[in-house]
């Protein structure tokens, strides 16, 4: 009997050991990979006990602050509060239930203080051991409340979906970034879904639209770089251009007859640009054209300090798919030349195009963060302007800019005129496949001689042309920086 009891004891002890072995597996061996799993919310929730850094606009106005609440699991948690929904697109949200988006996600290490120098991270460790509150760093952004507000008011007035991006051409600082419809980030923090289903979709950085004629400045760069055209090159304009059995026409027959390249840009003549595309590209595989697009940043994700999955690259799509083509993929150079075909672009990319032309051919890396400092005031990091792409020569950039001034003074973009300020702009009215409805664009840089702001505006599904809907919005956005009438 007692030998049997001993055996029973050892069997039970073995089973207990099995239980402990499994426990050790979860708690020690597999713990870090379990903590990293997406459906495990602990990491996110733990960071809620950190007093997150403030996010400030360029004038020091508070975009995101904290609200202290007691935690169910000891200590305090800090909930994000956003005084306004004006910055929902660039800043996003930091929510216990829905994670993070926008700068709240991409700058999370700064905001939680996880990035600090050695002394800072030691202090952080001690503070957390002592049960103290970990304080994150304050992030100062380049966002200008005046510009952002002008963008918001313009979008809101149309009542249609759309986006605005405004950039300082010489530095790449993003002055405004908005996407409409928007959402209330405080509601996301509270665990509610936005009222409009696609409001969380950031059209400014993720939305892909055909650029239509707004793409013509890039084609102009392509034409001038080839050496076969000058701004004064004359095109015999029959108002129709036959290409592979299909006819390309202009929006209006009013400008029929010989026109220079400059006039073609001013009046947005598709036939001229289709001809340039067809002539410069002998075949449907056209690396020369693709190279110019790449030089302005197409085919790569803009290096904005933003979450990678909220940024999308622009470029030519593989026909019938949503995947970007490679330079060796064939495409339709004639239609691409005036911004149709399989070409899609984001508003951010179009703002970068305008900024590159404004900044003498140099596209600066777009940035949202100006400076990061501790809550004590010590500066941790300052963003220095960096060149992203050397897109074209200063001469060609200046020539194109000069040509674009004509668009605003005498062409399709006259509604963007600001008295006393020279503006280089380009309208775009892209066919969407829905009859009578267009994606309307306006890109511009102002003042043309001393570029302080580059802007791209897109309005989805409007019956109006870019010059009618998008240009006035771009105007008020630019006015927020350059002033005037």
């Amino acid at each position: 009997m007692n030998r049997a009891l001993t055996r029973v004891y050892w069997v039970l002890a073995g089973l207990f050991l099995l239980v402990l072995g499994m426990t050790a597996y979860w708690q020690i061996w597999d713990a870090s990979s379990l903590a990293a799993r997406r459906d495990n919310q602990r990491q996110v929730v733990r960071e809620l006990s950190i007093k997150r850094g403030l996010i400030l606009a360029s004038d020091g106005a508070i975009i995101a602050r904290n609200y202290r609440a007691p935690s169910e699991n000891g200590g305090s948690i800090y909930e994000r509060r956003y005084p306004s929904n004006l910055y929902a697109a660039p800043i996003g949200y930091s929510s216990p239930s829905d994670g993070r988006a926008g700068l709240e996600r991409s700058a999370n290490d700064f905001l939680t203080g996880a990035n600090s120098d050695l002394a800072g991270s030691l202090r952080r460790q001690f503070s957390s051991l002592a049960g103290g509150v970990i304080e994150g760093n304050t992030v100062e952004t380049s966002l200008s409340p005046a510009v952002q507000r002008a963008a918001r008011e313009g979008l809101q007035k149309t009542g249609l979906r759309g986006a605005v991006v405004a950039i300082e051409p010489r530095t790449g600082r993003v002055l405004a970034l908005d996407s409409w419809p928007t959402y209330n980030p405080n509601a996301i923090v509270a665990g509610k879904l936005p009222r409009v289903g696609d409001a969380l979709f950031n059209r400014a950085t993720q939305g892909r639209y055909p650029p239509g004629s707004a793409f013509k400045p890039l084609t102009t760069v392509f034409a001038l770089e080839s050496g076969r055209y000058t701004p004064d090159s004359v095109f015999i304009n029959h108002n129709r251009f036959d290409y592979y059995g299909q006819t390309i026409t202009n929006a209006s027959a009013a400008y029929q007859g010989p026109r220079t390249l400059t006039q073609s840009l001013t009046y947005s003549l598709n036939t001229t640009f289709a001809e340039i595309g067809a002539k410069l590209c002998a075949r449907s595989v056209c690396p020369d054209f693709t190279r110019v697009m790449q030089a302005f940043g197409l085919f790569s994700t803009p290096p904005l300090d933003f979450p990678g999955d909220q940024l999308r690259a622009s470029g030519i799509l593989r026909h019938g798919t949503s995947a970007l083509a490679t330079p060796s993929t064939s495409f339709d150079p004639a239609r691409t030349a005036f911004g149709q075909g399989d070409l899609v672009v984001t508003p951010l990319q179009m703002a970068l195009l305008a900024a590159g032309i404004g900044n003498d051919g140099i596209v600066m890396q777009p940035t949202l963060i100006d400076r990061v400092r501790t809550q004590g005031g010590k500066t941790i990091s300052v963003t220095k302007p960096k060149v992203w792409k050397r897109a074209t020569t200063p001469e060609i950039a200046r020539q194109v800019r000069q040509m674009m001034i004509g668009v605003v003074t005498a062409g399709s973009g006259q509604l963007a005129q600001i008295p006393g300020v020279a503006i280089a702009g380009k309208t775009g009215t892209a066919q969407t496949g829905r009859p009578g409805l267009y994606d309307s664009w306006f890109i511009a840089v102002a003042p043309a001689g001393d570029p302080q702001i580059a802007v791209a505006v897109v309005i989805e599904g409007t019956p109006q042309f870019g010059g009618q809907t998008a240009a006035p919005i771009a105007k008020s956005v630019m006015q927020a920086v350059v002033g005037g009438g």
């Binding site: 004891y9 002890a13 099995l18 499994m22 979860w26 708690q27 020690i28 713990a31 169910e72 699991n73």
Partner: protein, 443 residues
């Protein structure tokens, strides 16, 4: 005082010493939880801690009077497990800790009642048929009343409503059946151990000796299956096989039992959807992480979060921001997940060592016992504690499929707590008599 009398009282002094350690742990534990959650819970609730300690003191005094020679380690071990449970329950939902403290009072009352009424557990042998039939009747009543009133909780027909209370009679039937098994096997162990007939080269007892055993077992299991509670059936089966093995010293019974169990399990897995889902969830809870796998996955995350040393009491991620529990029903079946999270692997080792200690001391009581009934009763009660802990702990850490049973002495739940204290009283009563007997023979 003679040296013999001192020897008799020595165990109680050791017990008191151990209980004081438990008291210190309770104080530290409650302080930790309170410190972590000052803005959520009030100091008034600390009275639960005081009441809890007072109850342990009463249990100790009762032992001093009724069973002075009983094993000194069992009560403090159970008290320690209870204290871990009540601290964690207090941490999860303070008001439930009050309920648990009330149930503990009932449990200690029942404990004292047993000490007074049955100071010698051996008398129970006389009432074996009454107890056996009574236990089966309890199970039948549960099922009938469940069908009559529609009381089904989590798919199981385990509860009956008495007034405003929900009671799980199976928790009490469990003890009754252990008593019955012990008495029956005491009576029949010799014939069962015989090798009267040979079957495929294996010696077997006569069929008529074997039949009643099989009948009781199959009947009990069928009733539990009707309750849709396979955790408890599994537990019964395990305890019964252990006792059969101990009584007959024939590994054959254990082997055949395990084989038939494996067969039955395979059958149940294919036939009963609820069990099938549980096994699938066990093998890969991430397949259905939002629904059937949710509890298991969250429990694993909660446990993993503890790491080696734990987050500290009151500081684990046990509750969501809205106060709901991250792991559903964390206070009952899954209480070990919360404990392992806040106390870490170190805490898990301590908890498991407590059960191992309980098992060791309990089986020691059995080994000291002079008569087979006491031996089997002590072994049966101990195995019940041990297997129950293994089944639920193993289920929570995914070493085994999950069976919805409570963690003895730790989980929130009145019936389970009271029945565990009843069983502990019986074990101590066996211990007291056998230690006196051994002490006398040695003296």
């Amino acid at each position: 005082m003679s040296s013999f009398a001192r020897a008799l009282h020595a165990p109680r002094s050791r017990e008191l010493g151990l209980l004081l350690i438990v008291a210190a742990i309770v104080a530290v534990g409650f302080t930790a939880v309170l410190g972590a959650r000052t803005d959520r819970i009030s100091t008034v609730s600390l009275w639960y801690a005081a009441a809890f300690l007072a109850l342990l003191g009463i249990a100790h005094l009762a032992l001093r009077i009724a069973l002075p020679a009983a094993d000194p380690v069992l009560l403090p071990t159970a008290a320690f497990l209870c204290s871990l449970g009540i601290i964690e329950i207090y941490r999860i939902t303070p008001t439930l800790a009050r309920d648990q403290a009330i149930w503990l009072a009932v449990g200690v009352g029942a404990f004292i009642g047993v000490l007074m009424l049955v100071p010698d557990a051996k008398v129970l042998e006389r009432y074996r048929y009454l107890i056996g039939v009574g236990s089966l009747a309890l199970l039948v009543v549960t099922i009938v009343s469940s069908y009559a009133t529609g009381t089904v909780i989590n798919g199981a027909r385990l509860w009956i409503r008495v007034g405003g209370l929900q009671i799980q009679p199976a928790e009490f039937a469990k003890i009754g059946l252990v008593i019955f098994f012990a008495a029956y096997l005491r009576e029949k162990r010799e014939v069962l151990a015989q090798r009267r007939r040979r079957f495929i080269g294996v010696g077997l007892p006569q069929l008529r000796d074997l039949l009643p055993l099989l009948a009781v077992l199959v009947g009990g299991l069928a009733l539990l299956a009707a309750m849709n509670d396979f955790g408890t059936s599994l537990l019964f089966f395990g305890v019964f096989l252990t006792l059969l093995y101990l009584a007959t010293a024939r590994a054959l019974y254990a082997g055949v039992g395990l084989a038939s169990f494996a067969l039955g399990a395979a059958l149940v897995y294919t036939l009963v959807p609820r069990v099938g889902v549980r096994v699938d969830t066990w093998l890969n809870p991430w397949n259905d992480v939002a629904d059937s796998g949710y509890q298991s996955v969250q429990a694993i995350y909660t446990i993993a979060d503890g790491g080696l040393f734990g987050t500290g009491l009151g500081r684990g991620y046990i509750l969501n921001a809205d106060g709901s529990k991250v792991v559903p029903e964390v206070q009952t079946d899954y209480i070990s997940a919360a404990l392992f999270s806040e106390l870490g692997f170190v805490g898990a080792v301590v908890l498991v060592l407590c059960y191992l200690l309980l098992t060791y001391r309990g089986l020691r009581v059995a080994s000291l016992a002079g008569d087979w009934f006491s031996k089997l009763l002590a072994a049966g009660i101990t195995t019940t504690f041990a297997l129950q802990a293994i089944l639920i702990l193993g289920g929570v850490v995914r070493a085994l499929p999950l069976t919805g049973i409570t963690l003895p002495f730790v989980s929130y739940g009145g019936s389970s707590l009271v029945s565990n204290w009843l069983a502990l009283a019986l074990l101590l009563s066996v211990s007291d008599r056998e230690r006196r007997r051994v002490g006398e023979t040695e003296a």
